[in-house]
């Protein structure tokens, strides 16, 4: 553990600090007495895609949720260490959680549109932040639906219920919803878990495209997928970060035997 973590920190000092969007330092996370995440150190570069891999139950989702403080609502959870977003610890007292979550968007494992119209699903993120200008909202909704590659399919039924969409369309709606607040980071927890290959491909293309605007951290079970779209990859096992490196190295020359086993078993 410590070796790898030291390497990470060395990597960071080698790299230009300005390029780092999120830096996680000595992160420990507990559910009550259950010490899940153990001393995690890593960083995410600006405008890169990073995939988090690992077997089921190793703490991937929990880790992702520490990055936008969604764990705040889990009773009995405890966190130590730092998560620096643009150099500022998101767990420090002065941080505005609402603004943090506006800036760090999240897409969930299963599509979870609100029981509202397609339009209102995307407009929600604007309205909760006090935006009232109708024209602005309409333009932004259209723009986000276009970014998410959904606009052409829904332009004639913007005022129909979001549940009338297919699973893949719902997930793209959730992506449109997440980018409506103009975040700089997108967290995605297995966004394609429940989708068929065609819908998955559409969403992966989106992600590759989104790098221009966002720093993307994606949890995935699919190793091919991770290799294809990500710049960095991290491997979690039992709440420890076993390996974290550029995807090229990660998949071709894993440093740790356990990473290698995980990758080869799945290929």
């Amino acid at each position: 553990m410590t070796d790898i973590n030291k390497n990470n920190i060395d990597n960071i000092t080698e790299n230009n600090k300005d390029e780092i969007k999120i830096e996680v330092k000595n992160l420990n996370f507990n559910y009550g007495d259950y010490h899940l995440l153990k001393d995690i150190n890593l960083f995410f570069k600006k405008n890169s895609v990073c995939t988090i891999l690992g077997p089921s139950g190793c703490g991937k989702s929990s880790f992702l949720r520490t990055l936008n403080r969604m764990n705040d609502y889990t009773e009995g959870s405890k966190l130590t260490g730092e998560v620096l977003l643009d150099g500022k610890n998101i767990y420090s007292k002065s941080v505005d959680v609402v603004e943090l979550r506006r800036n760090v968007g999240m897409v969930f494992q299963s599509p979870n549109p609100f029981p509202k119209t397609i339009f209102e699903n995307v407009a929600f993120g604007l309205k909760i932040h006090g935006i009232k200008n109708k024209q602005f909202i309409e333009e932004r909704v259209e723009k986000c639906l276009k970014y998410a590659g959904l606009f052409d399919e829904v332009k004639d039924k913007l005022h129909k219920n979001a549940f009338s969409l297919s699973g893949g369309q719902q997930q793209r709606l959730c992506i449109a919803r997440a980018i409506a607040t103009n975040p700089s980071v997108l967290l995605m927890d297995e966004p394609t878990a429940y989708l068929d290959p065609a819908a998955t491909a559409t969403i992966l293309d989106l992600i590759a495209d989104f790098k221009k605007f966002y720093t993307i951290i994606i949890v995935s079970h699919n190793i091919q997928q991770a290799g294809r779209i990500s710049d960095y990859s991290g491997f979690f096992l039992d709440g420890e970060l076993i390996e974290f490196s550029k995807s090229g190295d990660f998949f071709t020359r894993p440093k740790d035997k356990r990473t290698e086993n995980f990758i080869t078993n799945r290929f």
Binding site: M70, R101, G105, F108, P115, E120, C174
Partner: protein, 312 residues
Amino acid sequence: MAETDNHKKTGDPNNYFPVNKSYIKRKKIYNRIAYGFAASAFILGAFPVFHIIYSALIIGYKYLNWRFVSTLPTGFPIGAKGGILNAIVGDLYLVVIASCLAVPLGIGSGLYLSLFGKQRTNSVIRLLNELMIGIPSVVWGIMGFYIFSTNAGLGFHFGFSALAGGLTLGFIMTPIVTLLTEQAVHRIPASYIEGALAMGATKWQATKSVIVKAAMGGIFTAVLLGVLNIIGQTAPLLFTNYYNTGLPTGITGPGGAVGDIAMLIFIYIHEPSHILHYKAETAVVVLLFFVFALDIGMRLISWLTVKIFEMF
């Protein structure tokens, strides 16, 4: 027989799948028994309802006309002539007053319990709430009498009145609305609220614009069941409102008491007069009609609100 041997011809021949034929026979019988139980339980449960409707109609149909619901009771003993307008108006007063207390309080506590509070405090509140549902309504009546009607209690001097009766009924209704609202919110997938919070909504924004809308149907049901429960109450009214054969002139003090259909039935049945006994049955029909209309009406309103809210 042949059917259960089919496994020998399918799949891996070395992978024997042991079939317990007598168990297969038995499980079908169990299934039928369970079905029989369910069906007879339904019939047993539904029988009294149909019997009440049937006997009320058979006896009460004589007086069932427009005048019965549109005029005040007159004659001797009072009610021998005229209708039950006093009781219908009185129920309206009571339901409105009780709802003014129980709807905001019940929905508020239900939402609080399901979304905001800490686990430990919540389980205490939940326990208290269930205890409150278990308190006999006559006890509520005595409490209401002490608090609202007498001069002894907390300084309210409402006398026997719609306000005292309505508020007492409101206390009975509140825990029911609380419990059912909480359950309605619990049925909402957690992913809705997580989705809203993850976009930077405050808990209140998430509650107001996502949770309440999604739970709207269930919250309407909560209010409906609360109202239906208090419409049938008599014991609490005995001590806080009793009964008025005319229309109220206020909601407190002398002239503040109102009629009530359930109380009317209770009183008429105790009078030594056949006419009043018949009229009590007619009143049962009217009460059942109101319950039915309320149910349909609330469903309609709830359906419409859900439809309308979807657009925002």
